[in-house]
C-alpha cells in the first residue's frame, strides 16, 4: 500500500496550525474575514447589474460546491448535477407560483427534496464506477428537460413554457433595492452552506468520505461503512446543488426545461475542474469562470464566441492543470520556500 499523501489543503493547514499552538486567528482566518467584509460592502459601490452578476457567481459557486463534495471529496463522478440544480429551481418555482409559499421556505424544501432524490440515486450508483457512473448521471442530465416538458406533468411544471417566479422584495425596514437584497440573502445562505461544508470536510465524516475516494478497499477494511457514506454524500451533494438551483430560480425569476440541460451540467463540471477539485474557495473561482468567461468570449467576437471560450479553457488548463486552487497552492509553496527555509515536517 502507498503511504497516504500529506494533505496540503487549507483545512489541514489550519489543523496543523492549531496543533502547533499557533495563535487562533491564523492568516487564513484574517483573509476570510477580509473577504466577507468586502462582500458585505460591495453592493453599495457597484451598479445593480454587477450586483446581480455577483449573486449569480455565488449561486454557481454553491452549485459547484455541491458537485465538489461528491466528485472532489468522495471521488464519485457526476456529469448530471445540472439536473439537481434544475430540480431545486423547479421546487422553488412550483411552491411559489402554485402554493404561494414564501420564498425563504422554499429553500429548505428544495434542499430536502434534492437530498432525498440524490440519496435514492446514490443507491444504484453504488454499483457503478468511473465512466459508468458518469453515464448514469449523464442520463439524468439528458432526461430532466424531457421529463419537465412531458405533457402529463404540465399542470405543475408549465411544460415548455416554464414558470415565472416573483423576485423577493427587500424587507421594508431596509433601505436597499431588490437586487441588493437578493445579494445579501444569497450571501447569507452561501456563507452558511460553505461553513457547513467546511465542517463536514474536517470532521470524522469528512475524513471517511475522503478515505473512500483515496482507496475504497482500504477504507472499508478500516471499518468505514462505504455504501452509507457514499449514498449520504450523494444526497448532501444534491442538497447543496438543489439549494443553489432554488436561489438561481429566485435570481433569474424564471424556470424553463431547456435552461437545465446537459450544458448546465457540463459548465458546472468545468467550473469545478478549473476552480480546483477538493477545494472550497476554488468553487467560487469556478463560479466566476462559469459566469464571466462565456460573456468575455462573446465580447471578443460574437461569431467565434465558442472558439474563444474553448481557447480560454485550453489556456487555463495548460497553465494550471490542477485548477486555480492547485495553482495557488503551488505559488504559495514556491514563495514561502524562496522566502525562508521551512522546518522539515
Amino acid at each position: 500500500m502507498t503511504t497516504p499523501q500529506q494533505d496540503s489543503g487549507p483545512i489541514a493547514a489550519a489543523f496543523r496550525a492549531r496543533a502547533r499552538g499557533a495563535a487562533w486567528p491564523t492568516p487564513r482566518h484574517w483573509l476570510l474575514a477580509g473577504a466577507v467584509a468586502v462582500a458585505l460592502v460591495l453592493p453599495f459601490f457597484l451598479q445593480d447589474f454587477l450586483v446581480f452578476q455577483l449573486t449569480e457567481v455565488m449561486i454557481y459557486g454553491l452549485a459547484i460546491l455541491g458537485l465538489n463534495l461528491l466528485t472532489g471529496f468522495n471521488g464519485q463522478f457526476s456529469v448530471g448535477h445540472g439536473a439537481f440544480y434544475g430540480l431545486g429551481a423547479y421546487v422553488t418555482a412550483i411552491l411559489m407560483s402554485r402554493y404561494e409559499v414564501p420564498y425563504y421556505w422554499t429553500l429548505p424544501a428544495a434542499g430536502g427534496i434534492c437530498f432525498v432524490v440524490g440519496f435514492l440515486f446514490g443507491l444504484p450508483a453504488l454499483r457503478l464506477e468511473g465512466l459508468y457512473l458518469a453515464l448514469a448521471t449523464f442520463a439524468l442530465a439528458v432526461a430532466l428537460p424531457q421529463v419537465l416538458k412531458f405533457h402529463g406533468l404540465e399542470a405543475w411544471t408549465g411544460g415548455v413554457q416554464g414558470i415565472v417566479v416573483d423576485q423577493p422584495d427587500a424587507p421594508s425596514f431596509l433601505p436597499i433595492g431588490e437586487d441588493q437584497w437578493l445579494y445579501y440573502f444569497t450571501l447569507a445562505v452561501v456563507l452558511i452552506m460553505f461553513a457547513g461544508a467546511a465542517n463536514i470536510v474536517k470532521s470524522r465524516t469528512g475524513r471517511a468520505i475522503m478515505a473512500i475516494r483515496d482507496h475504497p478497499l482500504a477504507a472499508t477494511a478500516m471499518g468505514i461503512n462505504a455504501p452509507l457514506y457514499k449514498t449520504l454524500t450523494f444526497g448532501v451533494s444534491a442538497l447543496y446543488t438543489g439549494v443553489a438551483g432554488a436561489l438561481g430560480a429566485l435570481a433569474v425569476q424564471f424556470v424553463a426545461p431547456d435552461s437545465f440541460g446537459l450544458f448546465l451540467s457540463i459548465y458546472l463540471l468545468v467550473g469545478l475542474i478549473i476552480g480546483g477539485m477538493g477545494s472550497l474557495p476554488g468553487c467560487l473561482f469556478g463560479g466566476l469562470f462559469v459566469l464571466y468567461v462565456p460573456n468575455l468570449a462573446q465580447e471578443v467576437s460574437r461569431g467565434l464566441a465558442g472558439v474563444v471560450y474553448g481557447v480560454i479553457m485550453l489556456l487555463v488548463i495548460f497553465v494550471m492543470p490542477s485548477g486555480a486552487a492547485g495553482f495557488t497552492r503551488l505559488v504559495v509553496a514556491r514563495l514561502s520556500r524562496s522566502g525562508r527555509r521551512e522546518p522539515p515536517s
Binding site: 465512466l131 448514469a136 449523464f138 424531457q146 412531458f150 475542474i273 478549473i274 474553448g310 488548463i317 490542477s322
Partner: protein, 292 residues
C-alpha cells in the same frame, strides 16, 4: 408484426450510426483511457468538409475518400498538438480539454459554414428497397457500410502487425514500449482512426438528420450510451450496444403507450442504466481487478 419488423429495421439503421460513433469513442478510450466528448463535433466538422468538397464539384465517392483521409490526418494533428502536452495532466483536466475542443469545433463550424440547415447527398438513393416499405436504399447502405467498416477494422486489429502493436500499446503501455512499440504514435494513430470512423458516421447520417453544426449532439448521446452499454473495453460490444440503443429507442417510441413518444430518450437511458445495474462494466466489458 409488420410494424414491429419495420421499427426494428428503422432502429437498426439509426443504430448503425450510433454503433459507428460508439466504436470511434471506444477507439480513443482504448488509446487514452478517456471518453472523447468532442467525438461528435469532430465528425460534424468532417461532414462539413465533405459537403464543401461536393459543393466544389468533387464527386461523392472522391469526396468521401478525401474526407476520411483528411479526418485521419486531423485526428492525429489534434492528438499531437492538444492532447500530447496534456499527457500527464490530471484526468479531469483532460475532460476540460475535450469540452474546449467541442466548443471550438462547434462554434468554428457555425462561423465557417453558418447555421443554416444543409442537405447532404446520399449515393444509395432513397427508393424503397425490394419494393417494400421496410427499408429504403440509404438505410440499407448505412447498415452495409457499417458492416464493411467493422469487417475491415476486425481484420486490421486481428490480422496485421500494426493492429497488434496498437492493441499492445493500449493493453500495457510500459511493456509495449520495452519491446520497441512507439506507444505515443499508436495513441496518435488511435485518434486518427477515431476521427476517420467518425467522419464516415457523419457522412452517413447527414442525409437523414440534415447537416448543421449541432447535428451530432443527439447522436453522440446515443453513441456514448451504446459504448457504455456494450462495455468500453470491447469494440465489438460497442457496436452491439449502438445497434441495441437504436432498436430500444425505436421500439420504446412506438410500443410504449402514453409516454413513449415524448420520453423515448428517457426510456432508452433508463433501460441502459438498468442493464448497468446487472452488468456494471457493460454487457461485454472486462471486469478490472485491482490490487490492494
Amino acid at each position: 408484426m409488420q410494424l414491429l419488423i419495420q421499427e426494428v429495421l428503422a432502429g437498426l439503421a439509426n443504430g448503425a450510426i450510433y454503433a459507428l460513433t460508439a466504436l470511434a469513442i471506444v477507439m480513443v478510450f482504448q488509446a487514452i483511457d478517456h471518453l472523447n466528448f468532442a467525438q461528435g463535433e469532430m465528425a460534424t466538422f468532417s461532414t462539413f468538409v465533405a459537403w464543401q468538397l461536393i459543393e466544389w464539384g468533387v464527386t461523392y465517392w472522391a469526396a468521401f475518400v478525401l474526407t476520411v483521409a483528411l479526418s485521419f490526418a486531423g485526428g492525429i494533428a489534434i492528438e499531437r498538438v492538444l492532447f500530447r502536452p496534456l499527457h500527464k495532466a490530471p484526468i479531469l483536466a483532460l475532460l476540460v480539454g475535450f469540452i474546449a475542443l467541442f466548443s471550438i469545433l462547434n462554434s468554428g463550424d457555425g462561423y465557417i459554414w453558418n447555421y443554416t440547415i444543409k442537405t447532404f447527398p446520399t449515393p444509395f438513393g432513397t427508393a424503397p428497397l425490394f419494393g417494400s416499405a421496410l427499408l429504403d436504399g440509404h438505410q440499407a447502405g448505412m447498415i452495409g457500410v457499417t458492416a464493411v467498416l467493422l469487417g475491415l477494422l476486425y481484420f486490421f486489429f486481428r490480422g496485421t502487425r500494426l493492429g497488434l502493436a496498437m492493441r499492445a500499446a493500449a493493453a500495457n503501455p510500459e511493456s509495449a514500449r520495452l519491446v520497441g512499440i512507439r506507444v505515443g504514435w499508436m495513441t496518435a494513430l488511435g485518434w486518427g482512426m477515431a476521427a476517420a470512423i467518425g467522419a464516415v458516421g457523419g457522412m452517413l447520417i447527414a442525409p437523414i438528420v440534415f447537416l448543421d453544426p449541432n447535428m451530432m449532439l443527439g447522436v453522440l448521446i446515443y453513441g456514448f450510451s451504446g459504448a457504455v452499454l456494450g462495455g468500453l473495453t470491447s469494440p465489438g460490444g460497442a457496436v452491439f450496444g449502438g445497434f441495441a440503443v437504436g432498436v430500444i429507442e425505436s421500439l420504446a417510441g412506438t410500443f410504449i403507450p402514453y409516454v413513449g413518444r415524448d420520453l423515448n430518450l428517457t426510456i432508452a437511458l433508463l433501460v441502459i442504466v438498468a442493464v448497468l445495474m446487472v452488468r456494471p462494466t457493460g454487457i461485454f466489458g472486462r471486469t478490472v481487478a485491482s490490487r490492494v
